[in-house]
Symmetry: C2
DNA sequence: GCGCCTATTGGCCGATCGGCCAATAGACAG
DNA sequence: CTGTCTATTGGCCGATCGGCCAATAGGCGC
């Protein structure tokens, strides 16, 4: 099954995969919610899933799918190289993660691999994971603060928005800077985008 | 001709377009430099061009192609919705700009349109252009400063890096904040990413 | 040639930041 | 039950920031 918001890629992919012996595309959609419906209906052996979908995002769709069907085998096929995307995908139960610039043969191999029960991580992606592993994860609160800092909030404003004292906001920002290895809030925001914590 | 760093999409697209009466894919590549070579050799009626390529980026490739062959008709086909990407593409002489989540029929229509000498701007993209038009453009120097601010440089450091006084660096940062409508450097960095001035 | 934009620099100042010290309370895991 | 993590708050201070004033010089278009 194909789940991707690029109809052109889906069509092309379907065409391509159907020519591979043993592979058949049984369903496709650009929408996270209908992906769940289609999965129930078709029970595909392998699901190719993009991160950016029309409705709900790919990670959320993956979580819901795996919650309902733990046996679902999902191979992330996306163009995002953000470290957080990779990590959250695998944590949410994806069997693999490859970027869209793979060659045809690699994709087919990854699909067969996942179908056989294996894991498939692109080598480039594996490097991202390694880098990511050295990162400290931000707490939910810190993520919230990062979002406000991104909007230009001062520490006092962050405090007001979250109903906490300015002092506490400062503590969160300080934690942010340390975990993101940033020397000021501007760099912290940049790191947030680079790591995929912040989206455009 | 297809120029896109996603081999899978290229293959699919080629397959798909070759089924359209009157359309034939004569060449494809994932690399900006070889795109120029292939254009010279094949003189395609229409070139589909992505922004992210293996070597040189799409905008640069577009500029070089148009410089050498002003008659080249190029339709940008990309997943970027960054305002600057749209603007620079059209300024560099693209005949159209559509995002990869178009439906097949729309893509084919756009190709025929561009081939006939028209312009093809997706409606979603047109809205981005409208928003972008209200933006003031950053000077090259300001872009440079934004890049340093992103890295966490203080005004003094920016001055040192650029061989100018801290005071001048401050002036540039002040100009940045005004043009990006940001209240501090953190928000300026965020706006930079949102507008496509900064890349992950 | 005149005007606009860009790049450059100066002084001044209050607001804000980031780093240092230390402390309490709740949650969740081992 | 103990320990680690998160969230919370306080004071203090030098460094940095962003905004205000104004000025000069070069480039580019009308």
């Amino acid at each position: 099954m194909l789940v991707d918001d690029h109809a052109v890629l889906r069509a092309g992919l379907a065409n391509l995969l159907n020519f591979e012996p043993g592979l058949t595309v049984v369903a496709e959609t650009d929408d996270g919610d209908s992906a769940l419906l289609l999965w129930r209906e078709h029970r595909p052996d392998v699901t190719l899933l993009d991160l950016s979908l029309t409705g709900r995002d790919g990670i959320e769709t993956l979580r819901r799918l795996r919650a309902e069907f733990p046996e679902a085998r999902v191979l992330m096929l996306t163009s995002s190289e953000a470290q957080e995307d990779v990590r959250y995908s695998l944590q949410a139960g994806a069997c693999g993660y490859i970027t869209k610039n793979v060659r045809r043969a690699e994709l087919v191999e990854a699909i067969r691999n996942v179908h056989a029960g294996g894991q498939s991580i692109g080598e480039h992606v594996a490097r991202l994971l390694a880098v990511d592993a050295s990162h400290k994860t931000l707490s939910p609160r810190e993520l919230e603060v990062l979002g406000l800092v991104r909007q230009g909030c001062t520490n006092a404003e962050v405090g007001r928005m979250l109903g906490i004292s300015e002092r506490t906001a400062k503590a969160h920002v300080a934690a942010l800077l340390a975990k993101l290895q940033a020397s000021d809030r501007a760099e912290a925001v940049a790191r947030g985008f680079e790591r995929g914590l912040l989206k455009v």
